[in-house]
């Protein structure tokens, strides 16, 4: 549905995005992750046809942003990072205006606007001026303008910034509810948002894609070692010695009675560790496998990249 092909975007001599390629299948929600200034917004602006890429091309439903920008724009709904709308217009008026510009047939327009007001819960404010709305309502209006033409593709640039936790939850469930019917790219730097809503993740740093996979895989495949956390009663040094002796253990570190055991990628050594600890006469108080969260993966990838470059 969405296909980005070797997109490079330069602002003068500055390279904002370099040779980015990825695809999103119909109905998928793609999490687009990266620290601030990584090139997320630039990539999304290329997809929306806001500006053309310096090199490469992007396709929406087979239409190229370079050759058929109008066809692309008819098929997308875009929520920019800092949504600026006409403050002097009323909510209903504005959504109707955008609907007309996006080519919603005149006969359907009224009904469509009513529906959007319902979907985005704007009933209480639809006669108010946009300028007088709170941030949360503005965010819903901007989502409303994105949805008004019933687009198969949604591009959401950090849709939950500046919202309170309840509103964030609402927006997330609204996004989640569209899974399957619309193809969505969701950019964010809030990691739990991705694990909650997205089926695929692309991580970008300094304009380059550093990882792209399904949300589940990305945690797993990037974990090079298993970690087990232990709390053991007894002399720490002797415990450390015992645990280090187990085949497959790479490294043991501790602070006081708490130990972190690194092992080979495939082996699950929990049973073995438990046996040895108990056999050695120590008290096994706590043990749990530590799997890498998206947060760890993200930090790891982003810092690794920087390390490599230096």
């Amino acid at each position: 549905m969405i296909k980005i092909e070797n997109v490079t975007k330069m602002y003068g001599p500055t390279v904002a995005v370099k040779d980015v390629s990825f695809e999103v299948e119909k109905g998928e929600i793609l999490g687009f992750l990266g620290p601030n200034g990584a090139g997320k917004t630039t990539t999304m602006r290329v997809i929306t046809g806001y500006f053309p890429p310096t090199l490469g091309n992007a396709y929406i439903a087979g239409h190229s942003v370079l050759d058929a920008p109008l066809e692309v724009k008819k098929r997308i709904g875009y929520v920019p990072e800092t949504p600026a709308m006409y403050d002097d217009m009323r909510v209903k008026e504005y959504i109707k205006y955008v609907g007309a510009l996006k080519g919603v047939p005149k006969t359907e327009l009224k009904e469509r606007v009513e529906r959007i007001i319902g979907t985005c819960a704007l009933e209480s404010v639809y006669t108010k001026n946009i300028g007088s709305l709170s941030k949360g309502f503005k965010q819903r209006v901007v989502l409303g303008q994105a949805l008004v033409n019933d687009p198969p593709v949604l591009i959401l640039d950090e849709p939950s910034t500046g919202l309170d936790p309840k509103q964030i939850h609402e927006i997330r469930s609204l996004i989640k509810s569209m899974e399957g019917e619309r193809t969505i790219i969701l950019s964010t730097h809030i990691l739990p948002e991705v694990s909650m809503t997205c089926s695929k993740v692309v991580i970008i740093n300094e304009g380059v894609i550093v990882a792209a996979d399904t949300t589940d895989n990305i945690g797993r495949s990037l974990t090079e070692s298993h970690q087990v956390e232990l709390t053991v009663g007894g002399d720490p040094d002797r415990v450390k010695e015992t645990v280090s002796g187990i085949a497959g253990v790479r490294n043991v570190s501790n602070s006081g009675n708490r130990f972190v055991v690194d092992s080979e990628k495939d082996g699950d050594l929990r049973a073995e560790i438990a046996r040895k600890v108990v056999e050695g006469g120590f008290d096994l108080l706590e043990m749990r496998a530590h799997s890498m969260t998206l947060e760890d993966v993200f930090l790891k990838l982003v810092t690794e990249e920087e390390g490599e470059r230096q």
Partner: protein, 258 residues
């Protein structure tokens, strides 16, 4: 077409919800009305004096005495009140960021430009229309009169006004700040005005003629006299077309540069 119409409607509404349209129209009507009133009083005094003296002509030309100087000074009023109409058209959208969403809608640059251009043109038409009743009154009280020169004068003022607007829109597309757009519009319009003065027209230099032809005010003269010369019409139409075309190109180049 629908896109142009929608943008046009929004922009016209904006002119009235923000008080720009009211302010500009009121100032224009007041200043125009005052100048008109002054010319008319002078004319009636003069006519009265002439009537006392049988050796003078019994009637002086209303058009030449009242409307020619009025329309001529109107170029100064336009110079002052038209740039405020055009300054915000693109500068405001760029400053506030609303242009970002506009650029992602299936709307062509030229449609955006034409919608806004037509909206500002409408305000200009309203301004001119509001001055018409006063003109009617003069004829009522002058008895017989000639329509032609007044109509051609209005056509000339309209074309000149639209030229001012079009240059203003181009400058608005180039700037992000409304005040900067306003000041540059004033500067550019004055420059086009003074172009004819750069070389003494009596010096016999070819360059003087060329520059005079470029002057934006120069071309109004014939209209005021009641002469519709193709050269003048072509000048204004080309001027307007060039500005509108360049505005669309400026938007496009803005996109490419990001």
């Amino acid at each position: 077409m629908r896109n142009i119409a929608e943008i046009f409607k929004r922009e016209v509404r904006h002119y009235y919800t923000s008080p720009i349209a009211y302010v500009v129209i009121v100032i224009f009507t007041a200043v125009f009305g005052f100048l008109y009133f002054r010319n008319l009083t002078y004319y009636s005094q003069l006519s009265y004096q002439l009537m006392q003296n049988p050796y003078y002509p019994q009637r002086i030309d209303l058009v030449m005495a009242v409307f020619a100087p009025l329309f001529s000074s109107n170029s100064i009023i336009f110079l002052l009140v038209i740039p405020p109409l055009s300054m915000r058209l693109f500068a405001e959208e760029k400053k506030s960021g609303t242009i970002e969403l506009m650029f992602t809608y299936p709307v062509k640059d030229i449609q955006m430009v034409l919608g806004k251009w037509l909206a500002s043109l409408t305000i200009l038409l309203v301004m001119l229309a509001l001055s018409v009743p006063g003109v009617f009154m003069a004829f009522k009280f002058a008895g017989s009169w000639e329509w032609g020169p007044v109509l051609s004068g209005y056509l000339g003022m309209f074309l000149m006004g639209v030229s001012f607007l079009s240059l203003g829109i181009l400058i608005s597309a180039l700037s992000e700040n409304q005040i900067v757009a306003l000041i540059i519009s004033y500067g550019a319009l004055l420059a086009f005005w003074f172009l004819g003065w750069a070389i003494d027209p009596n010096s016999g230099k070819k360059m003087a003629d060329v520059l005079t032809e470029f002057s934006i005010i120069q071309h109004l003269d014939n209209f005021i006299k009641g002469v519709i010369d193709t050269r003048d019409v072509v000048y204004y139409v080309l001027f307007i077309f060039t500005c509108v075309f360049l505005t669309a190109r400026v938007l496009e180049s803005k996109r490419w540069r990001g």
